[in-house]
């Protein structure tokens, strides 16, 4: 077994600390789909805070990559798959009012029933999709 889980744990604590800083500092929930979705459909308030958050979120990994800590997304190169996947993620997270960070990290840590139900639903659907795609389509 590799040591990837240690990086996962360290990165996870950093993600949770990020959510705690935003919550205690500004009162906002660190949900990526809510933050960017509110900007896209115009329902979001506190736009300057949102912009600052997005600059950090996009800028920090860019700086780390420049500094030599490279990462790769290994994403598929099938355009139709990227488009369908992106649409499902965009539409789904906004209907559900949250994604992995909002319902998962922020919701489950306050024992939100909706957070647990949403997380079970997207992990279940994700697992079924990965299995079917691998077995059925070879993706």
């Amino acid at each position: 077994m590799s040591i990837d889980w240690i990086w996962g744990l360290v990165g996870g604590v950093m993600i949770g600390t990020a959510a705690a800083v935003l919550l205690l500092g500004t009162g906002r929930i660190m949900g990526a789909s809510g933050i960017v979705g509110g900007l896209i459909d115009g329902t979001g308030q506190d736009r300057s805070t949102t912009f600052a958050f997005l600059i950090g979120l996009i800028g920090m990994p860019a700086l780390m990559t420049l500094g030599g800590w490279a990462a790769d997304t290994h994403a598929t190169s099938l355009p139709w798959l990227l488009i369908i996947g992106g649409l499902c993620v965009g539409i789904g997270t906004r209907f559900a009012n949250g994604c992995t960070s909002g319902h998962g990290v922020c919701g489950m840590s306050r024992l939100s029933v909706r957070g647990f139900v949403a997380t079970l639903a997207y992990i279940g659907a994700g697992a079924a999709t990965v299995t079917l795609a691998r077995v059925g389509l070879g993706l």
Partner: protein, 143 residues
């Protein structure tokens, strides 16, 4: 001050996603592949992220945020159709590509055209939701 706090939070979030391997679609899809070569990393990320937040939520009790305003209301508890259907749709897209909103943004500078195409489609989907909601409410009231 709010801007600085948000910038710091975003930078920590981005760094955490980057070093945990969650911008790597192979690791995310590997976690979802319970019947295959299962990769448990995502569970450690989720568990690690919940630790500071359990304490943070406790600290919110009886207080107000550092820069003023108020904390979010207690979580709603109704399990609605949009919550379930939306989460399932999200899970399908997540399983197909291996990116969710946070990592899609965090990896945009090094994810190539694939990352850009996914992000554009995701933002288009988000943009389409308010009119979609209106249409669905008319077809199926009381969702």
């Amino acid at each position: 001050m709010r801007g600085f706090i948000a910038l710091l939070s975003g930078a920590l979030f981005g760094a955490g996603l980057h070093i945990s391997g969650m911008t790597n679609t192979a690791k995310v899809r590997g976690f979802l592949d319970f019947a295959g070569a299962w990769d448990p990393t995502l569970a450690f990320v989720m568990g690690g992220a919940m630790l500071p937040m359990v304490f943070a939520w406790r600290l919110t009790r009886g207080r107000t945020p550092l820069t003023g305003g108020s904390y979010p209301a207690p979580p709603r508890s109704e399990i609605t159709r949009p919550l379930i259907a939306g989460s399932i749709l999200f899970g399908i897209g997540w399983g197909l590509v291996g990116l969710c909103p946070g990592p899609a943004l965090a990896s945009i500078t090094y994810g190539g055209w694939q990352g850009v195409l996914f992000l554009v489609a995701m933002l288009a989907g988000m943009w389409a939701v308010p009119p979609l909601r209106l249409g669905l409410d008319r077809l199926m009231p009381t969702t």
